[in-house]
Amino acid sequence: MVKIKKVIFLAIFTAVVIFSLFTNTTLSITSLHVHAYTPNYEDHTDIAVKLVTVDGLEPNSTYRVTFRYVAEVQYSVYSESGYVAAGWFDTRFLRRSGVQIDKRETISGTFSLTGYTGDARVLTFEIELWAEADGGELYSYDMAVIDVVAEVEVHSVEKIDNGNDNSSGDGGGGKKTKYSGLIVKAANRKGRELYHVPINVSGYREGTYKTPFLISKKSPTDSSFSVTLTAPRKFVFGSKVRYFINWSVTPLSPRRIEWYRNNTINVHVPDNAEYIATAHYSGYYYWYRLEIKSNIPVLIKYSGNVGSGSKYTNFTLYRESAVDDGLTAVLEAPEQVFYNGTFWFFDKWVYRIPIYSKERVLYNNIGEFSCPSQAVNEGIVVAVYKRTARLIVESSPIDDVPIQIWYMGKHLVKYTNFILEDLSIGSTISLRAPGRLFDGNREYLFSHWLVDEKRVNSELIEVLVNEDIKVIAFYSSRGNEIGEGVKTRGEWLTPGESVNITLPYPGVYTIKVIPYYNTSRPLVALVVAKNASKYAYVDLNDLTLMVKTPFTPKHGSVHVSAKELRKYPVVTSGEYEGWYFLGASAWVPDIEDPSVNSHFDDPFDDRRSLTYAVYNLTITWRSSLNISKPWERYPKTGPRNVKSWSKTIVITSIDFTVWSFYEREGVYVVWEAYYKYLPPPELNLSPKPPHQDVWFTLEYSNNIVVSQRLGRGSRYYGVNNYSIFSDAFLPYEYILKEYGLKHLVFKARVRWSGPLGSPVNIVPYSEEKDIPVVPLCMKLLEIEEKPLHLVFKWTLLNRTTLPEYSRLFCPCVSIDILTEWNGRLYENVGVKSEYDYTVYIVDLDIDISWPRRITVYFKHSRTENLILVIPSVRI
């Protein structure tokens, strides 16, 4: 046994001696020891350097020397975000992060260095071992420790060639190209490298470069150079910001670090030397910016986690935070502002996040706005003030008169009756009515304009808009003396609505109402006693009125004083003689007459959608000799003794279809409104779009969930043939908060606009619809995190059944993905499966490994009389 041991020992010894002689190298083991320890939030690095000499080499030769090492590593990390690391030179052989207590590892491997011997027969290498410990916590006590004992020996020596100089070791001399280099880097205070920091370089290789980059020079004589480096004091990358701390400049070997506090430094790289300049930056802060703007300068009060105060628009609220807790501000705008010689009124807030296309509109003056997270860290809020008015243009006794309009340098033609909305206060609009026109075989001549109850004889008028104003173009029929009548196209009204009766001249008027079909429901006049103590609805037929002041009907709620009442037409005969005439309406309004909604003796045919409540209204005027002189100057063509007008009154109601247009975070509810009952075809009255001042509502448990006024909205509103569109946005967040993911049925109704401009009573006979609100989800079938692969399936939540009429609609969605770590939105990235039309596939070349999160939005295709709630998915 002893002999065997001796034989083995001699064999090994002989092998080593022979190998040493053969390779002419010195075999020795070099030990290095480093110990890094962080007792607090500062990280710590320890570096050990030792020289290793390889001899027995040929002069003027380049060798690659491979070293073999064995490292015994002990380490502990006490925080999830801490780590320890160790390595040779700029390489790393160990990195362990997260909680690691009393761990031990043995790591072995090799690394190579290349050297040029020059005149000498030896190469000396500086071997550098480093270890780093980082506790990981930014603002608190943490701990990490690492201890590395490494043994290094030369594993092999390989001669490369005789000409090149890639020396890392120090050998002999020899002619060679000299090389100097400066590596410019940026790092956070824990030493982690930062990329894309723009550094301005001057003096040599001038320009702005992004870290990391290399400035180098080769020269056979002198490769030294000097540069001036300027690092930005503040570095913003994505949603994070860092601040400059200092520069460090160190030669590659030996390591001695020089520090500079100024962000601009001069670095001299000597001949044949390599340096590293590192710009050190603080830990990152999240930044948030909310721009507050308005269309006129106003003083906005703000309060929130950016402090409080008030500033004139436009201004920006900006916040930085070490944690991603966003910026939130409550803004309050003044209700009215006197600016440029007039009052402006607060209209709404418009809040927009640049990365989203959708805007949020808030009509409440005090609103809370936020840039809630690093993914959504920029927002724009605009306080919108309005200074607008409406111009109502009508004609009498005929409709559809083409009026030329000049406004804001534009010329257009519209047919009466129409309303010009959103006109700037103080603006002037020119209107020209045609001098004559034909309706069938009858010729009409222009008579005059009635502008704000004042008569203007010119066909061309200029209207100064300071408030809502109404103008009427009056026409007279050629030769329309006694007995001559003018037939107009129908006026479409809903039950209880005001009949448009204009009495333009002083004199005596007789009103005749003849229904086309048998009906027990007459058109009525509202009359009030002289002392305003009583009022009554009386049959409009055969009413005789004395007019002193031209009368145009008032819209909406109007307060009439006793003095003003004396200007109203007076009933001249019958039971109500001496009472004042305030206006006429289509039947007695339902608040006065509950039988209106009783559907007893309905003139409406629901089956055929016809109305038989069609009336011929004729107004006959006679001039009165008792009228005071001032009125006599009005008639353009001279006073006439008798005139008559007639028009057809159609009483109907309003029907609608509810369309749903889907966005990422909600749905636009769009009401398409049209008249519910049409007059019998034999009357040859073409339909019109509704014009009434009504609201469309979606209601649940007698509460209005969402509503919009006829013809108003923000995206899908306007006129199309015989329909008027209105829209309102309903956010999913609101539905989910109020009702959860439940199947609901909203009641869609039409309501009158009240005196305060809000929805009040239901419009009689108008349509009511049940609108199912159905939760829908996109079920996750497949997921791969890198690269991102998702498969979703269109699925009705709660296994709800859809209404019959919507069974055939397309289960089509478009899919948008927001990557929260960089705020990027990928739009319409879903592809429908070829095999299952309810399955969608998303493939994106991104990595969502934890802690990266994404939000997936689903936008459904349009639905009719059905609202789908499709919540987004956050993965």
């Binding site: 925080s79 079920k779 079938l781 998915v873 993965i875």
Partner: protein, 191 residues
């Protein structure tokens, strides 16, 4: 009622408010060392979502685990945290901590005779609206005398699945049969 009486009354009301506030936020007068009873009370406070100022020092540590929500093909891998709140106690019964995957409650008691504490687990709630998976994450670790539990939704994931399984560190801990919504909710424990 005289002015003096009113002043006394106001003083009594203010002092009562202060006393009540202290009583609700402190477990007991400051003593410096915890008893096993203190740890039990601490757990009760945390279970009832209360912020707690304690009169003894605890050490908070944490460990990461891998939670996987696996659907028909593939899994969403989420790093969840196990948090330990430990304090030396004069004496205590030996209560061995359940394995994290089996703990089943958000705050579990454990002790070894010389130390006692609370270890957090993963809680599953099966509601009408879906399955809610909740875990606790300490915002930082180290020694503290204050624990603030923030149950606001600081980070919530929401996925709709059918027949999914939930794995913790590679072992299946729950199976979702049928169609359901899974919410993963993080509760933050601030020190």
């Amino acid at each position: 009622m005289s002015v003096n009486s009113q002043v006394i009354l106001v003083a009594l009301v203010i002092s009562s408010i202060i006393a009540l506030t202290l009583a609700t936020t402190r477990l007991a007068p400051r003593t410096g060392e915890a008893s096993f009873r203190d740890i039990i009370e601490l757990r009760e406070r945390l279970c009832s979502d209360r912020s707690v100022f304690i009169n003894f020092e605890v050490f908070v540590a944490r460990k990461d685990h891998l939670l996987e929500i696996c659907v028909e093909s593939g899994c969403r891998r989420i790093t969840v945290t196990e948090t330990w709140v430990i304090a030396p106690v004069s004496s205590s019964p030996i209560i061995k901590p359940e394995d994290f995957a089996k703990r089943g409650e958000l705050f579990a008691l454990h002790s070894n005779g010389t130390h006692a504490g609370i270890s957090t687990g993963i809680q599953f709630e099966f509601t009408k609206e879906g399955v809610i998976v909740t875990y606790v994450e300490a915002k930082r670790i180290g020694k503290t005398r204050k624990l603030v539990l923030s149950k606001e939704v600081v980070d919530e994931l929401a996925i709709y699945v059918e027949n999914a399984s939930i794995l913790l560190d590679g072992k299946e801990i729950a199976v979702i049969n049928g169609f359901n919504k899974i919410k993963v909710r993080k509760v933050v424990l601030e020190l």
